[in-house]
Symmetry: C2
Subunit: 119 residues, 2 copies
DNA sequence: CTAGAGGGTGGAGTGCACTCCAGGGTCAAG
DNA sequence: CTTGACCCTGGAGTGCACTCCACCCTCTAG
């Protein structure tokens, strides 16, 4: 698939895809004319990147974990440690979101405790 | 409390606090010498801002909801609608995080399905 | 009275993640 | 063989959320 199709199917701009390539997040083979050529799997990768990013991870963080996702030479223990760390971060974030959610839900019927905060 | 203490207790820099004031997120009374003076409640407000922000809301979004948090003239129905909308957004985000978490948890013992994504 | 910590302002600079642009090559259809 | 859609590159520009800076004022301790 070339960049236009990948752009359409992933929902990312061509510029964003080229930018990701510069950063090393994705790779492309080149056709003899210089055009980029992507395998289907890039869509999964981009979906993962998109999700992680929307959840508050920076591209640098996502980038750092790519070798892990792509199974490149790391020990099983190291992978496990990193994954457990990430899961802990995510669990904490879920906890925060639940707290915010409950806070908002409480306001649906309550008086607001922040009412005086601006003065 | 003056800006230095608020900075220390909130974990935000003085510059960030002045920046938030410019944006209208927080307000400060002024002492005769021009120094800012904040009530305790500002800490709650900043905590709320911090949390919402870390969860992916922009300052503009948070700003837009402040009148709501501070109970300024909105109908009960409107407040309820906005809150329900926000809760839905948060629930969706929790769902995404759970999916990512489960995905990572699965990798703890599995082979990686993204293994070919880079080629 | 002076030193040093803390406060004020306006404006420039930073890092991130794109986004846009100029200038140019490639390719299928008519 | 031209038109139009698509692709390439390098580099400048954008929006967000700060962060830093120069320069100046205020207050407390010694």
């Amino acid at each position: 698939m070339q960049i236009g199709e990948l752009s359409e199917r992933s929902g990312l701009s061509r510029d964003a895809l080229r930018f990701y390539e510069k950063r090393g997040l994705i790779r492309a083979r080149r056709r003899p004319n210089g055009y980029r050529h992507y395998p289907e799997a890039t869509l999964f990768l981009l979906d993962y990147v998109r999700t992680a990013q929307r959840l508050g991870f920076t591209l640098a963080e996502i980038e750092a974990e790519l070798p892990l996702l792509q199974g490149e030479g790391l020990t099983a223990e190291r992978v496990e440690t990193i994954l457990r760390g990430k899961i802990a971060v995510i669990d904490a974030r879920i906890g925060d979101l639940k707290a915010l959610r409950d806070d908002l839900a409480g306001r649906l019927s309550d008086v607001c405790p922040l009412i005086a905060a601006g003065q």
